[in-house]
């Protein structure tokens, strides 16, 4: 046998071993090494949050390299420009602190990019050396680098704590703490503040707006990064897109109420709004699927006394119709899923509605409350009995799971394509980081329309797969 063959053989034997239960145990015994995590660091989420305020320039206090990375990654997903600056801290800042960079950075950014507000957050470098953004910003004002009253929000977003959803949450709280007027107490502005959470589907935000508006509720999406992530092409580049206006942000604490459409990516902000500011607020499961959308609308109904209009009810009826028409393609199929906690709760609820069987539920950035909530959800349905939650695990753990306990479909982002290929199952691309397909973020996955979209995507993926692999005599026109 030739060396090449020997080699090929030994490669195969390693691959075979990597598919074993033994390897899985070794893999799950890991304590230090992380391989292919389905999460990234805080400032990325903070950047997204800042992009949702109209005229806001995201400003990273830290190394420029971070900014380059964040911008590249978000751009690849939405295929849109992502403006953001950093104060380009380098070695001298590491030694002497980043104040000089921050002040000069504010001055230059303010003059050059003419933002209406700046949303500042920190890289791990700034966090490790212990820079005090609050006092630096004060000094910048004192030195005239920026006008005295120029609105700046800031948030500490250490990369070694939590994940991108934590950063989103911190920046959101930072926006409110830094820039919202004190609550008046007696008077509210009659508006519902709608917090989408860390959600990279601009179409989802449009869908929230459409549904809530249809109920006759005055609303503000906070932060509203719809246009920032999906702006028209008109032959003109505008750095700032429409979003939550500074006026609406300033008035946020006078809201009649807040509704949070994700729980885990807004936990800190929820506490601030609900417990500290004592504002009526509700956090719902991300409205993925029919039941979760029902709960969302009924929460709105309960909060506002507004009724759900007939047109939305009809839309619901069409989604139910789509669900029943297609249930046979999803019912009894086994799924592995990974993603952010809020998305997973939404998706698992959706699958259970459809008779899908969630088996591996992997959440690189899940915490204990998430685990409990997910386990309760699984326990609520006979289709949930096989579901196991893997908090803090990564996609290499997932690979072992898929190879030792196979499922029919993986739901996740583009990073899941290698494991899906190894496991020879289709990948339903849902969630953040979808740079290998176009325009998936342009279709909502929330609300009744989102439910139809998910059903369509998942059912047709299964049928595609069957058509591709079925024996010739089973290649048919009817499916």
């Amino acid at each position: 046998m030739s060396t090449a063959n020997n080699c090929a053989q030994s490669v195969q034997s390693v691959l075979d071993w990597m598919a074993t239960e033994e390897y899985k145990e070794k893999n799950f015994a890991r304590e230090a090494l992380v391989i292919n995590p389905a999460r990234t660091c805080q400032p990325f989420g903070a950047m997204l949050c800042a992009l949702g305020i109209e005229g806001c320039l995201p400003f990273l206090h830290g190394s420029q390299g971070c900014a380059a990375y964040f911008r590249s990654c978000l751009t690849r997903h939405v295929r849109e420009p992502v403006p953001m600056v950093s104060d380009s801290m380098t070695e001298d800042a590491a030694v002497f602190g980043g104040q000089a960079n921050l002040i000069e950075g504010l001055k230059n950014a303010y003059a050059t990019y003419k933002p209406s507000i700046i949303g500042m957050f920190s890289s791990c470098m700034a966090e490790v050396i212990g820079d005090d953004m609050k006092s630096f910003i004060g000094n910048a004002r004192n030195q005239g680098a920026i006008p005295e009253d120029f609105p700046i929000a800031y948030a500490n977003t250490p990369s070694f704590v939590g994940s991108h959803i934590t950063g989103f949450d911190n920046m959101l709280k930072g926006l409110l703490q830094s820039l919202a007027d004190t609550r008046h107490g007696k008077w509210t502005n009659g508006r519902l503040y709608v917090v989408p959470g860390f959600d990279l589907y601009p179409a989802n935000l449009r869908e929230y707006r459409r549904l809530i508006t249809a109920m006759g509720i005055y609303m503000t999406v906070l932060p509203d990064f719809t246009e920032a992530l999906d702006s028209p092409n008109t032959g003109e580049y505008k750095m700032y897109q429409p979003g939550t206006s500074m006026a609406e942000l300033a008035d946020a604490l006078n809201a009649s109420g807040f509704i949070f459409l994700q729980k885990y990516s807004t936990a800190g902000t929820q506490k601030f709004v609900k417990n500290v500011q004592k504002i009526t607020s509700e956090a719902v499961t991300m409205p993925v699927g029919i039941r979760n959308t029902d709960a969302f609308l009924m929460t709105l109904q309960a909060m506002t006394g507004k009724s759900i209009p007939a047109e939305i009810e009809k839309e619901r009826g069409r989604a139910v119709d789509a669900a029943i028409d297609a249930h046979q393609y999803i019912h009894g199929k086994r799924f592995a899923l990974y993603g952010d906690p809020d998305l997973l709760l939404g998706l698992v609820g959706f699958l259970l509605d459809m008779g899908g069987i969630p088996v591996h539920i992997l959440c690189s950035n899940g915490n204990e409350p998430f685990r409990k909530e997910m386990e309760a959800l699984l326990a609520s349905s006979s289709f949930g009995s096989e579901g196991r939650v893997y908090n803090g695990k990564d996609l290499w753990h997932l690979r072992s799971l898929l190879l030792t306990e196979p499922v029919d479909m993986l739901i996740g982002d583009t990073h899941g394509k290698t494991v899906a290929k190894d496991a020879n199952i289709p990948l339903a691309r849902i969630g953040y980081y979808l740079p290998d397909r176009v325009h998936l973020h342009r279709q909502p996955i929330v609300g009744y329309q989102g439910a139809i979209n998910l059903i369509t995507m998942i059912a047709n993926l299964f049928i595609d797969e069957y058509d591709r692999n079925c024996p010739e005599e089973r290649f048919e026109f009817l499916r």
């Binding site: 230090a32 995590p37 400003f59 590249s72 990654c73 600056v85 921050l102 092409n233």
Partner: protein, 478 residues
């Protein structure tokens, strides 16, 4: 349509900046005039608060130089993000089975938590290495690519690497590429080169003698398969490519890389350090070449062949003769569609100058170019190639680039992903020139037809004609 670059345009564009920034930035922008010499400033710190396209040392070391080495595991040592962002983002293709022969499409990190910041990450690092070796027994070595906190908290990754090299009997290379070091990717390249020099190069000897035609291909990262296209030419010329730095590269190749007759370097910026080192230490000469577009390829083949005997020279001519008609076909197809089109470039590494010939082969003109992280030697190599009236910008900010493009209105901009959609929105055709916009290869004879097709597609896409709503046009006419 579009203005011609000139000094007052530059001044106007910079006028928005505060005084200090304006003064600093003015030194980085030059409009080439008759007899002008290269007086551009480069390789200087970015100005805080201005949107730079630059990355960091980690990006240069892990992302560019080490990442493509396929049978090593590159540990992103520190918090989770850096590894995440650089995961599969650079299109340095590799062959082999993922997880066994290549680890390129995977991300390995020590994933620092708060505790690691407080108590230091050295112990964790040792554990990470052990776990990785256990799970991936075929791995050929490790690089430890430090992220910012590692340098700030005073970890001693060198000592961990030393100890673990012994324990795991594998080369383990500490790479001190914390993001705050230096002022761009560039220092990362240098650090990475030094780390290769200190920890891999010369550490293994191939049993057989060095052949007369043994070469290394240096500074080709196999973006979209570039290495494979380049190697094909060299091999058809009769040369034996013993190692590639570092596209689809192997640990073994790197360790025995001193056993060649000649180093051929494509990306001078990122790899000149190691070439100089090998010249000094091993007496291996090195030669810059350019495999973009038929003219430069032809020139390069002859230049390379001249380093060897007549056999190679003749084969070189045969290669040229073989591909000339194919290239002519490409030119016949695309040149009429691209003749006279004006291009602006803003990229890293070698492309702002190396691709000019390819554009010119297609009848196009480069009216502006610049580098993210070049040094003086890069501009020295660039200036002579540029026509008068070309604008050259170093570390251009997004404001400057937007303004230049908006005023000059080129027919095509070639730059990076962060810039792409700015210009798409402006209605200016664009191609990513780091990642070949998910196409490629662009190197060699295999690459040029793709390059030509892609440029044509960008410029002549009928979709570009959709931008303006026709009822708007009507209004304007009235």
């Amino acid at each position: 349509m579009g203005e011609k670059p000139n000094a007052s345009m530059v001044e106007e564009i910079l006028s928005v900046y505060p005084e200090k920034a304006k003064k600093l930035r003015a030194k980085h922008i030059v409009v080439k005039e008759e007899g002008s010499t290269c007086a551009i400033k480069s390789n200087i710190k970015c100005i805080p608060g201005l949107m730079t396209a630059r990355g960091c040392a980690y990006a240069g070391a892990k992302g560019v130089v080490w990442g493509p080495l396929r049978d090593m595991i590159h540990i992103s040592h520190g918090p989770v993000g850096c590894g995440y962002y650089s995961w599969g983002g650079r299109r340095n293709l590799t062959s082999g089975k993922l997880g066994v022969e290549t680890f390129s499409l995977m991300q390995f990190t020590s994933d620092f938590s708060e505790g690691d910041i407080v108590y230091g990450g050295d112990k964790k690092l040792a554990k990470v290495l052990k776990e990785a070796k256990e799970l991936f027994p075929t791995v050929q070595g490790f690089s430890i690519c430090s992220e910012c906190p590692v340098g700030l908290i005073g970890d001693d990754i060198e000592s961990v690497a030393r100890n673990m090299t012994k324990e795991l009997e594998l080369p383990i290379v500490p790479v001190r590429c914390e993001g705050f070091r230096g002022i761009s990717q560039s220092l990362g390249h240098h650090i990475a080169n030094d780390a290769v020099r200190d920890h891999l190069l010369g550490k293994r000897e191939r049993p057989e003698e060095v052949g007369p035609y043994d070469v290394s291909l240096i500074g080709d990262y196999n973006i979209g398969g570039d290495v494979w296209a380049s190697k094909k030419i060299l091999e058809e010329m009769g040369l034996r490519v013993r190692n590639v730095w570092t596209g689809d590269g192997t640990t073994e190749g790197m360790m025995a890389a001193h056993q060649v007759k000649l180093n051929l370097i494509h990306c001078y910026r990122s790899m000149n350090y190691i070439c100089r080192h090998m010249e000094e230490t091993y007496g291996i000469p090195w030669l810059e070449f350019n495999f973009f577009g038929p003219s430069k390829i032809k020139e390069s083949i002859r230049k390379i062949a001249a380093q060897f005997d007549e056999t190679i020279q003749q084969k070189g001519e045969e290669v040229i003769a073989k591909y000339d008609p194919l290239m002519q076909k490409v030119l016949d197809q695309y040149r009429p569609r691209l003749e006279g089109k004006r291009v602006m470039l803003y990229v890293g590494g070698l492309r702002p100058r190396h691709t000019i010939g390819a554009y010119e082969d297609l009848g196009m003109e480069v009216v502006g170019t610049g580098y993210e992280f070049a040094h003086k030697d890069d501009y020295d190599r660039t200036f002579p190639q540029m026509k008068e009236g070309t604008v050259i910008y170093d570390d251009a900010t997004e404001h400057e680039l937007d303004e230049f493009v908006n005023r000059i209105r080129p027919d095509l901009v070639g730059s990076g992903i962060k810039e792409k959609y700015v210009f798409e929105k402006m209605g200016v055709p664009f191609r990513q020139m780091h990642s070949w916009d998910y196409s490629g290869p662009y190197h060699g004879y295999d690459g040029f037809p793709i390059f030509a097709r892609d440029m044509d597609m960008a410029i002549n896409s009928p979709a570009r004609g959709l931008t303006q709503a026709p009822w708007k046009k009507d209004k304007e006419v009235r």
